[in-house]
Symmetry: C2
Subunit: 401 residues, 2 copies
């Protein structure tokens, strides 16, 4: 068993053991934010026929300039031309409506004078003016999205315009959370003296949903004997793609996570990562199922989630598992020099054209306080000196900025 | 009726006529991403009692250094101390478990030697070491969130730790979309020759949901006579907080949006905005209901949504209506000089420490192409000269960066 691996080794072991989930067809409005399972091509020309961009008169002409036309017909909304225009002829058309074959341009009504069956233009017209040619936006067969692209509003629009009601997207990873810490009870239970409410479960539920996962359940087994915990874990592994355990992950007498995971028959990928907080993290696989064991300390649990679980959820959905990363300027200082590589919870913001970051208060791994406002992790390398205000640090943005 | 107002006037007219929605209690896991309706305070001390940060021995001592202690008891997981420690006494404790009254520090088990009923420390201990004092993270009554804050994972954790199962958040705005363009049919219908599939409805549904809205329905009235369209709009106004109409908003013979809106008894706030695309936008109010009329051209409709509807949806949920905005460096050029103020669809990205933006292809207001990849609007002021590569422009970021 690999122990105390680097973060990069841990991520590679996890994502290297994952196979992206299968595709599923979902209704257009439900597809937004999901990940395309396959390349998507325009199913037809858009617009499907040449259309007028204005209310006015479609006109046909030869090579000579012409400013008088014979009105051949009038197309209202929803009308489709059953005639074509010869040079010198015109037809009334509406915005977005089809123009008759032979149309060279459309004169907006405000620049046309009608006299009997003739119209005269009061403004020079160039060929193509106010026409949206068939296929101007997309030609049938044009690629509109690639496998791995996130379905956004524009793609939804193109698919709707083509009449596609379904999109094939990667299935959502099914996630279950199991609290293993002793004396941990569900947050909605009333804890007996000495027991503690599980705050990690609801936090992980929220975080995993943001990453596109479907959360099947949040359970605790802290009150169970080892056999009960093992059966609970086995049950979750039958339905979930990823089981996140929290707590029981240190090396004390009551720490049962590693034992329980081994008892399911899962193969341990690593145990212990050289980061702080989150050093008591581990991972295992059972068939195509992933188990990630995180600390029971809330901040360590959350850091472990972002660095180890979120990349797995992204990989399962065909996305790049690596988080974004950029430099930011410190707005305050971090007085401690570093031992182990540390991930400090920070708040990043934009000041004119540069990114700045605050080290948030309440950074003990047992404390929730830094999580109230965090939107980034600040990556301080092993053995770093104290960090001064104005210094640049590497940050991993986590939430919408 | 105000016509051809500036964008800022339009926004002020819209948000100035809105009252934030009432609050509603929702379950913790459903609250993430919603907006706090009221200030939230910690309901108890966290941790609720002084706890050990490690597995080891809680010890009590006076002012003298002491390295031998009499073992008074042993607290396993879930145990609560029914005794206190006098100087010179110790008790076995577990990570996260309560320490007995009188505890001055906890010796990790790896630095303790047990001989009979005595333990000896092999490492100097300072008062407070390895103790998480009661209320260290939060004291009962500490503010943890303010009205208008978005519920994030950390707040969910604090509320779970306090045993709160519900959060009061602003109600979601109820939105309905009504396509008024003549010859427009629902995207899942098979259009007759001359008819066009409604792509704006699904796009607006996706966009409004992103902004926290509940979308009640997407309808089209393009096939109806005026009376039918009016009844449809009235019906939607009975259940929706915001009705977005698309199409029929220009000033041609078949443009019915303004007429229909007036027929409902709504008060028109403005009609026409000095922006491109999206100049054919308008807004009206009926009691506390908002109607925003957008162009039927997809790109104009989307620009109008971001600039006029999204701010309203934010204001209804107690958020700052103003979008974020910053400068970015152009990666390509925009060759046209400007007439009206223009909002070009762009793609912003980060290059090391600066933001850059691309003008996307397919910028005609009738085209969907620029919407496939857009994540920002580029705000080009009225009368701007052509924009060169390397120039700075003001951008409104729209989606997660």
């Amino acid at each position: 068993m690999l122990t105390n691996v680097t973060l990069e080794e841990a991520c590679e072991l996890i994502t290297g053991n994952l196979i992206p989930l299968p595709g599923q067809s979902v209704a257009l409005a439900e597809a937004a934010g999901r990940v395309c399972y396959q390349d998507i091509y325009a199913a037809r020309d858009l617009p499907p026929c040449s259309q007028s961009a204005v209310d006015g008169y479609a006109v046909a002409m030869g090579d000579e300039v012409c400013n008088q036309f014979q009105l051949k017909g009038n197309l209202g909304p929803g009308d489709y031309p059953d005639f074509s225009l010869a040079p010198g002829q015109a037809a009334g058309v509406v915005t977005g409506g089809p123009v008759p074959p032979g149309t060279r341009g459309v004169i907006p009504w405000e620049f046309a004078e009608v006299k009997g069956e003739y119209i005269t233009t009061t403004k020079a017209l160039n060929p193509g003016d106010n026409i949206k040619p068939r296929g101007e936006d997309f030609r049938r067969g044009d690629i509109v999205a690639r496998r791995g692209n996130i379905v956004g509003p524009g793609l939804v629009g193109v698919l709707a315009a083509c009449g596609n009601g379904k999109v094939k997207v990667f299935a959502r990873p099914k996630v279950a959370v199991l609290g293993l810490g002793r004396g941990i009870v569900p947050y909605h239970a009333v804890p007996a003296p000495g027991e503690t409410r599980d705050c990690n479960g609801p936090v992980l539920e929220v975080l995993a949903r943001r990453e596109g996962a479907e959360v099947l359940g949040v359970e605790t087994a802290g009150h169970m004997e080892s056999a009960g915990g093992r059966e609970c874990l086995k049950k979750l592994l039958r339905k979930a793609d990823v089981v996140i355990t929290t707590g029981g992950a240190a090396s004390g007498a009551y720490d049962q996570a590693l034992d329980l995971i081994r008892q399911t028959g899962a193969r341990v990928l690593f145990w212990g990562v050289r980061i702080k907080p989150g050093s008591h993290s581990g991972a295992a696989v059972l068939d195509s199922r992933l188990i990630v064991s995180l600390s029971g300390n809330p901040a360590a649990c959350v850091v472990g989630y972002h660095l180890l679980v979120a990349p797995a959820l992204r990989a399962l959905q065909g996305l790049d598992p690596q988080p974004a990363r950029f430099d930011a300027v410190c707005k305050n200082r971090w007085p401690k020099k570093g031992g182990t590589r540390r991930f400090v919870r920070g708040y990043i913001s934009r000041n004119q054209n540069q990114w700045q970051v605050n080290f948030l208060p309440g950074q003990k791994s047992s404390m929730l306080r830094s999580l109230i406002d965090y939107n980034a992790l600040i990556d301080l390398p092993a053995g770093h000196p104290p960090v001064e205000e104005g210094q640049r640090v590497s940050v991993i943005p986590l939430f919408t900025l």
